[in-house]
């Protein structure tokens, strides 16, 4: 606020006449003045992890630009042609193939910069989905999804789902052996849907697989419908970020009622705008130097061929893994109707559950905390131990699926039996998340205790002194108030204490059951906790000297027990 007013005076002299005239022109017609006054000095907090969403945004722009280039030369048709005898590559001369595949070859060999654009497009797609996922993890682990940003989480989540569809449809377009087999697997998965599966397969392919419709259809979805939807959601997403203002990491001077950061003009514009060019530059360099999806090595789609060891793009690998993990015994015939749970569960139910967990998480957590306040200061992941543990447990499931998706590579690389690896992974998918949950939670709580210790006794300096009576102790450097604040400023939730389900006369009250579940969940979330140091505790620790016994963490919680194992600095 202050900066907006002080800079006004200097602006007047500095702005060159043509700029002033343009601003004036636009202001008189569309009220640009409101926008500049309201937005140009808006503050943006700065942190490397806030760049992740930007990478996704810029990769998307690169996708659109390189995609426009590709549409000029790609022919989305499944009509059969013979590849010209004089065209490159030599291995494909005279081979029968679809126009889609022929135009992809032509694009790669006979359009200057065509191969570059194909490779940039593919690398950008991988970067786009990757940065989006990591961005989402940042939002999750820092609690940035909390009120008032739950809706923007849902917007972002929808974009993630759409981007997977964008990748799937794009991967199908070149009509090589890999893309054809990808479509074939899609067909098999769609058919497993009870009752309507076979009809849905007809709907996708316009009849039997592969037909002649699917690539033109995928093309329209890929270049019009899906990017259009993503673009619309992106606009909404960014508008909400602007409108609600960015969150900030905890730190001195940062509160839920202010924003500390750099103004849009000039610093943020220079950094964020510059970052666009960096992302574009990196993707162009990747496209220039790293070949990807060299489709002429696989050849045109032929339903009898498959390349062993071929992997789908990384964001589809978890589905592949999920399909591999499922034992086949789970297909049943009931009254003559076939129910293929061996496909339905791994390809529809498992991703459905994973995605539902993601999409619904903010609302679940809010139902448990019953928190009504607005949150603009982020959590340090350690201070939200249960959430962090749930997140890592989720990731461990995802990780097991990824490894399963590459189990053949693991087997050949380490000389192990494929079947043995798969059996182990079948167990791990259930055991690992539980282990990871417990371990993560412990780690978070001990990090919190470490914070307490540092606040009470300062940083270790490595300098050892001897007291008059011959004992040794290490000198600790006390924290300054800014450093300390990061470790003591957070809020600690306690389990909800709701009225019991039944009143004194044993009569159930309405809503008692839901409250019971909520109480139990909230105990699960917040039973183990470590309280931040209070001024009184710090004063007590200091009056005893920094090499004294630490006061135990506040009473009552099982965290106090855990804290008993904490080392002290005698």
């Amino acid at each position: 606020m202050t900066s907006t007013t002080t800079s006004a005076a200097t602006t007047e002299q500095a702005v060159p006449a043509p700029v002033a005239a343009t601003v004036d022109y636009l202001d008189r017609r569309v009220g640009l003045g409101f926008a500049i006054r309201g937005l140009a000095r808006k503050l943006f907090p700065d942190h490397w992890s806030f760049l992740l969403g930007e990478i996704a945004l810029y990769s998307f722009i690169v996708l659109i630009l390189s995609g426009i280039f590709l549409t000029m030369f790609f022919v989305p048709s499944m009509a059969e042609v013979h590849y010209p005898e004089n065209a490159l590559p030599v291995t494909m001369q005279g081979v029968e193939m679809s126009e889609a595949f022929a135009s992809t070859l032509n694009l790669s060999f006979h359009v200057r910069g065509g191969l570059l654009m194909r490779q940039i497009h593919h690398w950008a797609a991988l970067m786009f989905v990757g940065s989006m996922v990591v961005h989402m993890l940042r939002v999750f682990f820092t609690g940035a999804f909390r009120k008032p940003r739950e809706l923007n989480w849902v917007v972002g989540f929808t974009m993630l789902v759409l981007s997977l569809l964008a990748g799937l449809t794009g991967y199908s377009l070149p009509d090589d052996v890999l893309s054809g087999n990808g479509l074939r697997i899609t067909d098999g998965v769609v058919r497993s849907i009870p009752i309507i599966g076979a009809y849905m397969s007809y709907m996708v392919f316009g009849g039997e697989f592969p037909g002649t419709e699917v690539i033109p259809r995928m093309f329209t979805l890929h270049i019009l419908l899906i990017p259009g939807l993503i673009l619309a959601l992106l606009a909404l997403h960014l508008f909400l970020v602007f409108w609600q203002k960015h969150t900030q990491y905890p730190g001195p001077g940062r509160t839920d009622k202010n924003v500390v950061g750099y103004p849009l003009l000039p610093v943020y514009t220079a950094k964020a705008g510059g970052f666009f060019f960096i992302v574009f530059g990196v993707l162009a360099l990747m496209g220039a130097t790293m070949s990807i999806n060299s489709v002429w090595n696989y050849g045109p789609f032929d339903p009898a061929l498959v390349s062993a060891g071929a992997q789908p793009d990384w964001y589809m690998l978890f589905l592949e893994g999920s399909l591999r993990l499922m034992p086949g015994q789970t297909e049943f015939v009931i009254l003559g109707w076939t129910l293929s749970l061996n496909v339905l569960i791994p390809a529809v139910v498992v991703p459905g559950l994973l995605f539902t967990f993601l999409g619904a998480y903010p609302f679940v957590e809010n139902a448990i905390t019953k928190d009504v306040g607005e949150h603009h200061v982020l959590d340090r992941p350690r201070n939200a131990a249960t959430r962090t543990a749930l997140g890592t447990a989720f990731l461990s499931v995802f990780f097991v699926l990824l490894v399963t998706g590459a189990n053949d590579l693991v087997a050949t690389h380490f000389g192990l039996s494929l079947n043995a690896i798969t059996l182990v992974l079948r167990v791990l998918i259930f055991v690992l998340p539980v282990v990871v949950f417990i371990v993560t939670k412990r780690v978070c709580l001990s990090l919190q205790r470490k914070d307490r210790e540092v606040v009470l006794h300062g940083h270790e300096t490595g300098i050892v002194r001897r007291t008059a009576d011959g004992r040794f102790y290490e000198v600790h450097k006390p924290l300054d108030e800014y450093e300390r604040w990061v470790r003591v400023g957070h809020h600690v939730y306690r389990p909800l204490e709701l009225p019991p389900r039944e009143d004194a006369r044993g009569v159930r009250r309405p809503g008692g059951r839901a409250d019971g579940i909520r109480t139990r969940l909230s105990r699960f979330f917040f039973e183990d906790r470590v309280e931040p140091v209070t001024p009184a505790e710090l004063a007590a620790a200091q009056s005893h000297g920094e090499h004294d016994e630490l006061p135990a963490a506040p009473e009552g919680s099982s965290a106090a027990e855990l804290a008993g194992t904490r080392g002290t600095s005698h």
């Binding site: 060019f277 789970t330 297909e331």
Partner: protein, 362 residues
């Protein structure tokens, strides 16, 4: 200015309770700003400026080099070479990449080294427009509903809901109705191996005009039983299929694996005793999991493996599943030989090939 956190049910407990100390620490406010060396040293600032200008210059040169690379390495049909394609991709790409990267690095460096780096504070306001505005908006909505007289015209309410629900149908029904072409899913059950019961088949492709010959994929040559050697796998299509209509759709269902094993290790159900010929068996190549071609044959174990999700089938035991996510055995194609020793299909598969679906057994 302590942080006021959200309300929640647990109350704060008195901790420590020493007189005069607050219950919690207070937010100390922003740390004092540390100035960069360049802020006080004009020479350093000048150096940063020169450095940034240099990076911009590199970007300019790279962009020019990229365009030159476009001109220097032709890839049109009569002048193309794989080398030209490679160089063109590399030089144009490096030009584009370094051109972009240069702008980005220079801009970020400019922001970091030369722009005002003091963090600023701005107030946030609650997202809500406030209770008064809330009241007003409800009032406005009520007034709108009043003026439209919705409450007193229940018939209209029902009518508009019905009209809105039905109006999309003339759009959606043709859209979805056309997508599935003829919706005739019984085609899943028939393959190109089906005999021409009327004997109308081309004698080159059909034995006695009725039964389809087996042929090698992709050469499309007929297969003599004597040429199928022990332990080798032959990839098979119906003879003459490549010239027919719907070639890919038919091929996607009809591809077959042909293997000869020692007849003594072949376990055959009595009703399938005449489906094989002298140890030669033919199975669908389409995986019963989700439909990849089952392409890998292990000679020692007589297993075939699907590379997609590793379902493994035992050729000597009716192609039953021995491992992996598939449930059903690969469908078997009954084969016979004609008087000249060529293999032909005595009948179509007796079940749909490939992935399962709800109506599969109906």
């Amino acid at each position: 200015m302590s942080i006021e956190k959200s309300s929640h049910s647990g109350e704060h407990r008195e901790l420590g309770g020493s007189a005069g100390l607050p219950e919690r620490f207070e937010n100390p406010g922003l740390e004092p700003h540390r100035h960069r060396l360049a802020d006080s040293d004009p020479k350093r600032a000048k150096r940063s400026e020169r450095q940034i200008a240099l990076i911009f210059t590199i970007s300019i040169l790279a962009s020019i080099a990229g365009v030159v690379g476009y001109a220097v390495f032709p890839v049109d049909i009569d002048r193309a070479s794989v080398l030209n394609v490679r160089w063109s991709t590399l030089v144009v790409g490096l030009g584009l990449g370094i051109g972009m990267l240069g702008i980005g690095v220079a801009a970020v460096q400019w922001a970091r080294a030369l722009m005002d780096d003091g963090e600023k504070i701005e107030d946030r306001h609650p997202m809500s427009a406030g209770p008064a505005a809330h009241q007003q908006s409800l009032e406005i909505l009520r007034q709108g509903a009043d003026e439209a007289n919705i409450a007193r015209r229940p018939v209209l309410k029902g009518a508009i809901a019905g009209a809105l629900a039905l109006a999309p149908l003339p759009f959606l029904v043709p859209l979805i109705g056309n997508l599935g072409a003829d919706w005739d899913i019984s085609k899943f059950k028939r393959t190109a191996w089906a005999p021409r019961e009327d004997g109308s088949g081309d004698p080159e492709r059909f034995f006695e005009g009725t039964y389809r010959y087996l042929a090698r994929d992709p050469q499309d040559t007929k297969i003599r039983a004597a040429d199928v050697t022990n332990g080798n796998i032959v990839h098979v299509i119906p003879h003459g299929l490549p010239e027919e209509e719907h070639y890919l759709e038919e091929k996607a269902k009809a591809v077959v694996l042909l293997v000869r094993v020692d007849p003594s290790i072949l376990k055959e159900a009595p009703e399938r005793a005449d489906w094989s010929y002298d140890g030669i068996v033919a199975y669908s190549k389409i995986c019963t999991h989700v439909g990849c071609p089952v392409a890998l044959y292990e000679q020692q174990t007589h297993h075939v493996l699907c590379p997609c999700h590793q379902s493994t089938f035992d050729i000597t035991d009716a192609a039953k599943v021995v491992f992996g996510p598939a449930k059903r055995a690969l469908p078997q194609l009954p084969i016979k030989v004609d008087p000249e020793g060529y293999l032909y299909a005595a009948a179509d598969f007796d079940e749909p090939v490939g992935p399962s679906y709800w109506q599969r057994e109906r």
